[in-house]
């Protein structure tokens, strides 16, 4: 079972219903280490709900999520973050009143040693004590992380570094998305889920983002990507999965999926609504 070892994320029959609507309908998926899979599909196809199920923000009604062989179905988001799963959000969820630096530092939260004195029950109290006393080791760790954040921000050129102390609410929309990705990278993720990283970006910005994702992939990061911009999907993805009305309707290399009649029908059938929604 050589494949077992290289599979990082595996979904089996993952299902989520909202009332009468089945938002995610028996989805199977295998993501290998270092692979980049894109999930495409019309709006409302269930892509973001699928992300929520994988990252613990929502619980499936049926099905199993395995991460590196371990069953993680129904784990809390906190635990999944600690396991090395990082995500960005479709509508952008930066911490508005926190500076760019602090936003990205939150990304490194699971790696802070000051957070987890390994003592049951009084662990949180020790955390409080360490935060107040701030011994040299805690200070050094904080300094090291701050340097790391600057390195991460440097990936975005001069977009974020000059604004490092500005509160996130004052940033442009595109910059907030960049902060989200920087925050996800600060977690040093083993699996990265990107939910429409280029939404609301102009062509130049989109090209920049595409370059960054390509760079991350080249560095060996395993990535699950939701994206509407097909050109980017075709260039980056090892495989593409197409969802419609909660179901997986096609899977395979980009070009093959693109020509699949079911995919064409799904897009044309929903074409109008899709246009309207992406315009909104």
């Amino acid at each position: 079972m050589a494949e077992q070892h290289t599979t990082m994320l595996s979904l089996r029959g993952l299902t989520r219903r909202f009332g009468g609507l089945t938002a995610v309908d028996a989805i199977d998926l295998d993501l290998a280490r270092g692979e980049l899979i894109s999930i495409i599909g019309p709006n409302g196809a269930g892509k973001t709900t699928l992300f929520n199920l994988v990252t613990g923000l929502d619980r499936p009604d049926a099905g199993i999520v395995r991460f590196e062989g371990q069953d993680i179905t129904g784990f809390s988001p906190e635990r999944l973050a600690a396991a090395g799963i990082a995500r960005t959000f479709q509508l952008g969820r930066v911490f508005g009143n926190l500076s760019v630096m602090d936003n990205v530092l939150i990304g490194a939260h699971t790696r802070l040693r000051a957070v987890k004195p390994a003592v049951p029950l009084i662990g949180p109290l020790l955390e409080l004590g360490l935060a107040l006393l701030r011994p040299a080791s805690v200070k050094a760790e904080e300094e090291r992380l701050r340097e790391e954040v600057k390195v991460i921000l440097a990936r975005f050129g001069e977009r974020l570094l000059p604004r490092i102390d500005q509160p996130a609410y004052s940033l442009s929309y595109a910059n907030r998305r960049r902060v989200e990705i920087a925050r996800a990278l600060a977690l040093k993720p083993r699996l990265l889920l990107l939910d429409e990283p280029t939404a609301g970006m102009n062509p130049t910005e989109t090209a920049e983002m595409q370059g960054l994702v390509a760079e991350l992939k080249a560095e060996g990061l395993t990535i699950l990507l939701i994206e509407h911009k097909l050109e980017m999907v075709m260039r980056l993805s090892d495989r593409v999965i197409v969802m419609d009305e909660g179901k997986k309707i096609a899977e395979g290399p980009g070009e093959a999926v693109r020509k699949d009649p079911k995919v064409i029908e799904a897009y044309l059938g929903h074409g109008l609504t899709k246009e309207q929604e992406s315009a909104a």
Binding site: A86, N103, V115, E127, L128, A131, L132
Partner: protein, 607 residues
């Protein structure tokens, strides 16, 4: 056996009265996702208008009811137009705070124009009782039941068959969609506030007649009961509010039957907490349905905090430290001692409400826990006062956090309701747990402040003691904010979903915030107990909780320097301007309203 029927009838009648308040709350929540804390004040206003009509003008009953309904509706319209509509595009905490401010202003206006003393509100119906089965029922009971049913029927017809009623329902279902379809949301809001106020006012009138007594303390109780009934039935659910009200009435009535009158409210608030924890969407919603999120997202006004240079803070602290060397009167020192005590409470609340975003309306309970613990430690166990105060702080931290922990999964308005209820529960437990707290008699003869065996009796020594304690707490809090915990708290406040996705445990960090904040508040309560030498279950009340919240908003949410500045300003300025005590709460209410309207980020800005 017969008495059980009586208790059931009584429970249903009282429940009917609660329903009139709760239905209004549910309507308002439905269209504007707002829990209207001023609803009880309208109930109060209704009761007093009824009193004027009955006692002064001798109006017949039907006229009295119509006068009360119309006048109360007018008050509701005024609140909507001038208090809430200007806040439509404001941060979502603003309307909640505004209704609290409006409630204070209305209550105080009634108190100042009439008098705080209870008045008799005679029922205009003959005093006869009919026998049914083993119980009795009077004309007033029937009137209340009739008014309840008639209002329900009228409301049903209005919502179902009138155009404006459709608009109300459409707005409740999806405000944005309704607006796009051309529904005039302002008119809907007006209609809803008018109806809610009319129902609330009539409810106040009926309750006044039922007990033949009205007083200004009715307001808060009515709001609380209405909120309990509404949340039990499911926020925004109108039929649910009616059932929740009847259930609340019965639970209270049976509770009183078994345990006694002083337990009435305890059962109400326990019911609320149990429902909030187990079924936050109310009894009639499905458990897996996503909880409504009335107050997430842009919870707090974004602002750039005013940076005060370190030297300026040092100079200010130095000036206050040496103040007693100057020829200042004891009166000034006494005022500042009060400011330092309030400052400690505000430090606690600014951390909890500002930094981690849990807007607590029951913070005075932490004072009470600290005060009682410290008083009992020094009296019963002869503990040195200094240690007793620290014990009070620790007990507040531990017990306060434990009590509030079931509500950690709640968000927005629900946190405020839960903390308000928990605050009331603490006060009621103190009242009823006589073997430990001495019940309604309170604790007297609490030893004065002392440190290492030296009694601190002179105002100067008390001044320094409280000032130093507050400064130490402020420095610690500043240090906390500069650590990874400060960052984590603020992240949870800004977006708890994203925070969880990055590994922040909400329970852990909310607990830590309440532990730290609980300690500061407990110490403040402990010092107060030894200063006052007498405390009872009413020493630390909701007014103080709201005053602390006003201080925190005045200073800027989460802002340590702002909390102290706010405390000095709100304690000091009324003294400077020699404002009579009875006008102060009115002024605090007006300050809160003005802040929410014109400077929601406070003087020094949110941190």
């Amino acid at each position: 056996m017969s008495s059980w029927l009586d208790y059931t009838i009584n429970g249903l009648i009282v429940g009917n009265v609660y329903a009139l308040v709760a239905v209004g709350l549910a309507l308002i929540f439905g269209v504007s996702r707002l829990i209207n804390f001023a609803q009880g004040s309208i109930y109060l206003v209704g009761a007093y208008i009824g009193w004027v009509a009955v006692v002064q003008l001798h109006t017949p009953l039907p006229v009295t009811i119509i006068v009360v309904a119309v006048a109360s509706a007018l008050v509701g319209l005024i609140i909507e137009r001038f208090g809430l509509r200007p806040l439509q595009n404001s941060v979502r905490i603003a309307p909640l705070l505004a209704t609290i401010g409006i409630s204070f202003v209305l209550d105080q206006l009634v108190m100042l124009t009439v008098s705080p003393n209870p008045r008799a509100l005679p029922s205009q119906l003959p005093d006869i009782r009919f026998q049914i089965g083993g119980g009795t029922i009077g004309p007033l009971d029937l009137l209340i039941a009739g008014v309840g049913l008639a209002s329900a029927l009228l409301l049903f017809v209005f919502l179902r068959y009138s155009k404006l009623g459709w608009a109300v329902r459409a707005t409740a279902q999806d405000r944005d969609a309704a607006m796009q379809m051309g529904v005039d949301v302002n008119r809907v809001n007006q209609a809803v506030f008018g109806i809610a106020a009319a129902l609330g006012g009539v409810s106040g009138l009926l309750v006044g007649m039922y007990y033949n007594q009205i007083d200004t303390a009715m307001s808060l109780q009515a709001t609380l009961k209405g909120v309990v009934a509404e949340v039990v039935g499911g926020a925004g659910n109108v039929p649910g509010a009616v059932i929740g009200s009847l259930l609340l009435g019965l639970v209270e009535s049976y509770g009183v039957a078994v345990f006694g009158t002083s337990y009435r409210n305890l059962f109400a608030f326990l019911l609320l907490v149990v429902v909030l924890v187990l079924r936050p969407n109310g009894l009639f919603a499905s458990a897996r349905q996503a909880p409504p999120e009335p107050l997430t997202g842009t919870f707090i006004a974004p602002s750039r905090p005013v940076r005060i240079p370190r030297w300026a803070l040092l100079v200010a602290a130095g000036l206050f430290a040496v103040l007693p060397f100057f020829p200042v009167s004891f009166y000034v020192l006494q005022t500042l001692i009060n400011a330092w005590l309030l400052g400690m409470l505000a430090l606690s609340l600014t951390l909890v409400a500002g930094t981690i975003g849990q807007v607590s309306l029951g913070h005075a309970a932490l004072l009470a826990i600290g005060a009682y613990t410290s008083a009992l430690l020094s009296l019963t166990f002869s503990a040195p006062v200094g240690l007793a105060i620290i014990g009070g702080g620790l007990m507040s931290a531990a017990l306060g956090t434990a009590l509030i922990s079931p509500s950690f999964r709640l968000r927005g308005h629900y946190v405020s309701i839960a903390t308000l209820a928990i605050g009331e529960i603490v006060s009621l437990v103190i009242l009823n747990w006589e073997s430990v707290t001495r019940g309604p008699i309170g604790i007297s003869g609490i030893p004065p402040l002392s440190l290492f065996g030296y009694e601190l009796i002179s105002p100067i020594s008390i001044y320094w003691f409280s000032f130093i304690v507050m400064v130490v707490l402020a420095l610690l809090q500043g240090r906390l904010l500069g650590s990874h915990l400060g960052r984590s708290f603020r992240a949870i406040r800004d977006d708890d979903v994203a925070a969880r996705a990055y590994g922040l445990s909400l329970n852990r960090y909310k607990s830590l915030a309440f532990i730290f904040g609980g300690f500061a508040a407990g110490v403040s309560g402990g010092i107060a107990a030894h200063l006052y030498s007498y405390i009872n279950h009413e020493t630390f009340n909701t007014q103080q909780s709201i005053l602390a919240l006003t201080v925190v908003i005045l200073g800027g949410l989460g802002n340590v320097v702002g909390a102290i500045l706010g405390a000095v300003a709100l304690v000091g300025l009324p003294e400077v301007f020699r404002i009579a005590a009875e006008y102060r709460i009115l002024i605090y209410g007006i300050v809160l309203l003005l802040l929410v309207r014109f400077r929601p980020q406070g003087l020094l800005g949110t941190i």
